[in-house]
Symmetry: C3
Subunit: 473 residues, 3 copies
């Protein structure tokens, strides 16, 4: 069978790439500072029922590929049996050639299940299915074990301010568990005032969780500040925000009180007021982050739920999102300038959805750098639709030519699956391949300490220093 994707040389063309990978990158632990893993699964630590659950239950990347391949929705999100769904997926896999999925899933089969030299397709589907299911039933394939096997030193989950942090507490109480699993503070719902009924339900949870009755804008802020503090105590050092557009709208604090009263009364604010409210809230979150030394992750530009029929049937995060393309330069710069002008610009990581805007994002990040934190404004890793070999190369090149690659805090999984950690390995191979080629062709010097040190920094140490998340235990 094929030697393709064997872990030793995969993507590593030439001596320099291999040495960078095997002597520097390969041995570093993982620092996964942005993930959507459900922390309750780690807390409960039950085995997976099948590879179908582990792979296909919530992975909209795979769903999109199956739909593109003409698979019936019944075998994607519908009532099909575990085996039927797996088979439909296995038939799709050869059709994903050159899509990152093709690499990801074969790396996962190797790294977790020891399946080398077998390509998944309709012929191999049954054997792979049975082997994976057998292994998944064992002790070594429970969620915590998967993290430890992959040397995940830090994992940041994504959590609403009104969420309980009991699962994180439970994990901290396990002295044998080697990974720091900490929450990220994701207050998107605090901005979602276009749907007053949903907003009020969320306010009610927030009140219960914080012990603060939300009667006006002041008490709303107090409740959020209490949660921010509690998240900090739980090891959180990151707030995370998904925005199509960060454009600031000028506002007076006094206006905001009136707008918030309107919202509390159950009415949606007009669009301009909603934008003012959003800017004001983001400014408050930036201030909290600045005070506690947190970083602010901005996930910018995605368009969501574009297929209305399917959204009505399946809800969000079902594979009906796309890249947006509103020209962001003026608004993004104005937003950062707004925060800088108020002295509340925290460390910030910019995630960009449209790869053609990479160079532009880097040029804007460069306008807000200042000591003493190196790389204070980060150009984040290749995100979502860009999470491919080509997308990573584009991100690395844009950051290199317009900024300082050496200060990059590196890759994240951004995934809902416990089997996605090999994406870090994938990134490291791409990084080492790029730098190895540069060394081989004399574009960068053959200085192993310099280049190898940079590789280690990007794989782990930069993130460790930048985020300052306390170690496990």
């Amino acid at each position: 069978m094929s030697e393709t994707f064997s872990s030793e040389f995969f993507l590593l063309d030439g001596h320099h790439a291999r040495r960078l990978y095997h002597e520097y990158a390969g041995s570093m632990p993982l620092y996964d500072y942005h993930s959507h893993l459900p922390v309750e699964l780690l807390a409960e630590n039950r085995p997976f029922t099948s590879i179908t659950e582990a792979w296909l239950a919530s992975d909209h990347y795979k769903w999109r590929a199956m739909r593109w391949n003409g698979v019936d929705e019944r075998l994607i999100t519908g009532e099909g049996s575990d085996w039927d769904k797996f088979r439909a997926w296995a038939e799709t896999v050869p059709r994903t050639l050159r899509n990152p999925l093709y690499h990801w899933i074969h790396l996962e089969l190797q790294d977790f299940f020891g399946i080398h030299g077998t390509l998944l397709n309709s012929h191999t589907a049954r054997a792979v299915y049975e082997r994976c299911n057998r292994l998944l039933a064992g002790e070594n394939f429970r969620p915590r074990a998967l993290l430890e096997r992959m040397k995940v030193r830090v994992l940041c989950t994504t959590n609403d301010p009104a969420e309980s942090l009991e699962h994180h507490r439970k994990l901290r109480q396990d002295p044998t568990f080697q990974s720091s699993v900490v929450p990220s503070f994701r207050p998107d719902r605090a901005l979602a005032v276009h749907d007053p009924a949903a907003f009020m339900r969320w306010i009610s949870t927030l009140e219960n969780r914080s012990g603060v009755a939300v009667r006006d804008f002041d008490s709303f802020l107090t409740a959020l500040q209490k949660r921010h503090e509690l998240f900090h105590e739980a090891g959180c050092r990151i707030s995370d925000h998904a925005l199509e557009d960060p454009g600031p709208e000028s506002y007076e604090e006094t206006e905001i009180e009136g707008i918030f009263s309107t919202i509390l009364s159950g009415a949606a604010p007009d669009p301009s007021s909603a934008r003012k409210f959003r800017t004001c809230m983001l400014t408050h979150f930036a201030r909290m982050n600045s005070r506690r030394g947190w970083a602010m992750l901005l996930h910018l530009g995605a368009l969501r739920n574009l297929n209305t029929r399917r959204f009505q049937e399946l809800g969000p995060d079902s594979g009906y999102d796309a890249m947006g393309d509103r020209p962001p330069a003026r608004r993004l710069a104005a937003f950062l300038d707004h925060l800088k002008g108020r002295e509340v610009l925290p460390k910030t990581v910019l995630f960009n959805i449209d790869p053609r805007q990479n160079n532009l994002f880097v040029s804007i990040a460069g306008c807000f750098q200042e000591g003493p934190v190196p790389g204070r404004i980060q150009f984040g890793p290749a995100w979502w639709f860009n999470d491919s070999r080509e997308g990573m190369i584009d991100q690395l090149n844009a950051l290199s030519s317009g900024g300082l690659l050496s200060r990059f805090v590196g890759m994240v999984t951004d995934s809902r699956s416990f089997l996605s950690f090999p994406r870090h390995d994938y990134f490291r191979r791409v990084l080492c391949s790029l730098l190895g080629q540069d060394m081989a062709s004399g574009i960068i010097p053959e200085d192993w300490e310099l280049v190898g040190g940079m590789v280690e920094d990007i794989c782990f140490r930069n993130a460790e220093r930048y985020f300052g998340i306390p170690a496990a235990g």
Copy 2:
């Protein structure tokens, strides 16, 4: 003389690329599902008067290159003699180095005229001119023979709904002619209501052709439906639309009747009404296409006739068009969602003019895929200004990393010249080169059945299955 551009190895770097091309791609017939060839020339099948007529009479790609090179317009579209024009072009050719024209014309000299190892320039111009003219006078260089020599199995021309299909009929009656030449349904003039006089002249032709008197919106639709049906009988399976922007405008069917009455009365509708009318018409065309299983080709984003002086002198399609850059994401998604919401979203091929939007187009296509048709929403081939080696690589990479390359329906000539078919060969070399490199470097497995099969699918079989155009005879 130079071995450059010899047909055996050109663009095929390494063993894998060559084997993919020679064992898989090279032998496939051509499926040219979008072309601007004038069908009357095929029907008449007269020989060309000269290589100047065949190459330079209507090719605005070459005109642009000559203008860029400082050639006087007299020798481009003006009164210059055939030889003077050819000489001016031959002097321009060496100046087009690295432009796709340089490759195209040398491939055409090889494949049609057997001229190998000669580069066209001022020194070789006379000999090339005479050889080509001598050959073009012969039986084997008449239009139908050119198609057969290039193994064109299917050719879709581009036709207004009010056009007679007599030439297509005549071709079908030639039992010796091996190619299926079928019309595409291109109703751009049904949307061109900004010029009421021209619109009314077109309506009059439509009435004559359809036998339906257009008295109101209903009878207008009836006339178009009759033509759609007749096109179907002539083997047509494609409607084709050129739009700067597909953005839908909400409308009520009842409004449209009023708007159409205004137009019939000879007045141009206001811009908002024009957009409503356009959306409504596109929805009707989508519905007709859905019912008959046709595909809808959307050519999006071009800006036309930007040089007013030259447009006044030379008319449209004279080389004064450019890429547009209106951010299309929201409007394109909304348009597809509009059709999907009415259950009239047909198979759709999206042609994108601005290469920086490739990834975005693929991400939007991915939101509207569903079975049972694989690749229901296609990301079309590198179009117009992107029809270069680099443009094709970009298109293939964007489709690969964001969708399923394996389901791609492949290349078209999109040309007005009977000598352009080697562009398919050019595309195949680029495709095989890309996949061959991937195989050689272990990015895709060295599985000849898998990769070779995908090559054959993309070169011919995917289009054959997807469009379902009936075979010749």
Copy 3:
């Protein structure tokens, strides 16, 4: 020590690239048609006080890198000593790996200071500092000597119409000085009517310099025309304009008189009037340029002074600018069409800030080409944030596939530093590497006269023919 960046083979991979560089590109003199060098330094010709002055006093590229690296502003633009600033820069240098700065500064250390095989970092900082300072004190390192050493045949500085040209005159009077140093006409302040006080101060200088009292729009034009003529006599053949957006606004000449009266009265015009005034002025400059055979350089799309706090502290050109992203297609085409419609479209060089718009710019340039000048509308070289190996490759590829690379007028330094001329050499290596690869892989023919001739044209001869700047002496 490392052989990296040794001048013989650096960036030149393979036989073809090396031969193109060493036999064709390397021996050509420099034609630097756009630079921000202060001509008074050339006129005075005093030695530099230190490498810190020569490198760090005004180079916002280096400042941005230092800020990204977390360096305190005191050591960038503040009160730090020359040595402390240099040390902070030297510590930053290894962190710029893969940024063009890393290549630029090592080429400069080689080409000017004979430092080969030493990489600048904290360990080598002291020795490099002392060697450079020692050399800079000598006769051979005065400004004029630096130009001559680099074989700068033509240098165009950037000058306001109200500037005296006495320094240029002084240089012309030095019969031993080999370089033609001529002004470019940069009338940005003639459009800067948003700040009436500053505008009126500038008008006053213009009056003094031109000897024309500006009482109304007519006399304003007269004053500018006089300066345009005087610049022409000083060898100037270029006007240069920095615009975020060239979009034309329709206007009547009579309106402009009223708008200008308003401005003269000390009031800022409303935005629409300001746009009309701008369009009118650019039209007048285009007309002057057309009459005298000048070229018009348009630097389009940059956003400036995005960090308000820093702008207040440090002023413009301090490293707080970024790429803009307003979709330019319609407005740029409309602007060129506006000039073409009035028969005042001069030779034009379009500089594009956002690399994703390269292909689009080329497609628009192609709509306005016409003889007899080859490449009348130029797609300018990789500019500012794009001035990297990757950015240059993108620019060359976009120009190649959409236009005629062979007619390209080549690279500029666009720099404020006398040590930046090796950027021409860097460009030449990139160009030869790209063409050499194409030759090696059969993408272009192995025709040395054809390809080598094109290299020489792009390095020097095209610019010499296109701009027609009179030779020194």
